[in-house]
Symmetry: C2
Subunit: 337 residues, 2 copies
């Protein structure tokens, strides 16, 4: 890589001092118009670009946000897009690191970015993450930190999250309203808060409708189409099989759908299905899958906005949380009436 031109080079070339060059370039008053012209002309001729690293060192801020995400699947990619959008607008650049749902990689990523490269973090923790020292570390340094999507129970961190329990309630109540009685749930990994919250909504709603929850109807499995497929096959081979399934992700809904079709059951007649996330794919399959919309793009934007407010030193409390309300989107897979 070639050495880039600096104000020093410009100053030397023009036989003036670097402070004058600096001033001229930044349109400060108190600089002779002729001098300014000389400087700006030469600068653009040399294709001079101010060195952001030097500025970062000087100002002790990099105008960079470290974004750590477990993956870039639909929901998180959409959120990251929202973050990107707002950040760019506000003069921030975003460093996206994928932890790949691995605790180890999350640690490594955090540590790297922490080394004075970023002004703060917007983080969604991996499904493996059960210890939060690295997150506390960020807080200890008083850096702006916003969690999004996946959050941490029992820790007060500013965050953007979804009312997952409501999502669970909406889905379950809808199935009940459509006349389904034996509603199974494919829940996510056990330690994942969002997954548990969706399940709580499910349990709550069953109870509110006088339906006894059945442990055999509650399956924990990875956020994964294959597992969901297997789990559904299992469910469908029960002596009293479920007549509806609520999966806490659309990926899982697809897996469930494959198993249902294989079994020769008709949706929504024989069995109902509701997913979560409202991914485009729900519209592409036959029958189309009902799902819970979570406004991922807006959530991303909100996360970035909250971050920027914190970075600009606006007062904020640590337990500031913005909670988005999900919305039920009814499609053929669950519409029996």
């Amino acid at each position: 890589m070639e050495r880039q031109p600096t104000i020093k080079d410009i100053a030397a070339e023009l036989g003036i001092s670097i402070s004058t060059v600096s001033r001229a370039l930044r349109n400060q008053p108190d600089v002779n118009p002729e001098t300014r012209k000389m400087v700006t002309d030469l600068a653009s001729q040399m294709d001079y670009q101010p060195n952001k690293v030097a500025l970062s060192l000087l100002n002790r801020q990099t105008n960079t946000i470290g974004v750590i995400t477990p993956n870039l699947d639909y929901v998180l990619a959409t959120m990251v897009k929202g973050i990107d959008e707002v950040a760019l607008e506000a003069g921030y650049t975003v460093m996206v690191c994928q932890s790949d749902e691995s605790f180890g990689r999350e640690i490594v990523n955090t540590k790297r970015l922490l080394e004075s490269l970023v002004d703060g973090f917007i983080v969604s923790v991996s499904s493996e993450t059960k210890v939060f020292e690295h997150i506390k570390n960020i807080q200890k340094k008083k850096m702006p930190l916003v969690l999004f999507d996946r959050f941490i129970e029992g820790m007060t961190v500013p965050s953007i999250r979804l009312d997952n329990a409501l999502g669970g309630r909406l889905a379950t109540q809808h199935l009940i309203d459509e006349g389904y009685q034996r509603i199974a749930i494919l829940a996510g990994p056990e330690n994942l808060v969002i997954s548990n919250n969706r399940m709580e909504g499910y349990l709550e709603t069953l109870k509110a409708n006088g339906i006894r929850a059945n442990k055999q109807m509650i399956i924990h499995c990875d956020f994964n189409q294959q597992y969901a497929y297997e789990a559904t096959k299992e469910l469908l081979s029960m002596r009293t099989r479920p007549d509806a399934i609520f999966t806490i992700s659309d990926r899982m809904a697809i897996g469930a759908m494959l198993a249902i079709k294989e079994k020769g059951l008709n949706m929504p007649h024989d069995i109902g299905l509701v997913g979560f996330n409202n991914e485009p794919v729900t519209n592409l399959v036959t029958p189309r899958i009902s799902s819970i919309e979570m406004f991922a793009f807006d959530m991303g934007k909100a996360a970035a906005k909250m971050f920027i407010e914190m970075a600009h030193g606006h007062e904020h409390t640590n337990d500031q949380q913005k909670v988005f309300k999900p919305k039920l989107v009814v499609r053929e897979s669950s519409k029996r009436t």
Copy 2:
């Protein structure tokens, strides 16, 4: 954000000079074991982290790669994941910027990152991009630059690309082999090289099989499910409708599929369909869609490897290109025999 501890602080606290601290911290010889212990102990107690910005300024390199991508849809997200993987391994951090298929945002992103924030670039140009001054600019600065996926015709830039024409040939030949005669193509935007290459493969193969290309069977439309849906409706209402459609992306294949189903046609009997990318969704719909696998993850890894070689000053020629061979994956949508 709190001021982070520096070696200066450590030195002051211990009453020694900063160079000694620096040496102790970096395990240099020539430093008294006792001094070293004092220093390292205090450092870890203060949770000292070396300031990367200062180091970047000193070394004139940031160990950061600027990745510019038009979007984070399946293919590019997968490639970015590959880039990430290799980069992390090699001690680089990745800054991902989405241009959102907009030329303007691509320019802005490039310019920002160029301001000495990154050591070089791995870029996939937006579909809008027809002028390449910003890319030439990077080259002029002698920064490592690798293009991936989308590349530029008539410019010699190191790049990782797919043999798109081969992809077009594989798909088309397969359809012909399955007995389809009137094969339409939903090509992408006209100025996009990858799209044109796929079409060339299509045209070539028709010719090689003695089939006359029909202009009405060649539709240019955005990489977009909705457009593909409209275009297919149009195609299917022709007096002599096509009996097969090759779409140059799986998204478009889904759009086409919707139109085909709406028309009540049976796949693969009445009409054949082949997509491109081999996205997971091709496996989720009924019938499953045949597609062209492009090994996106490996392509991303290769891009990062090439970048790192360049950054390490390995000799390279500007026209160094790694071309991946796509593979046909046959599924039900096109298997008539």
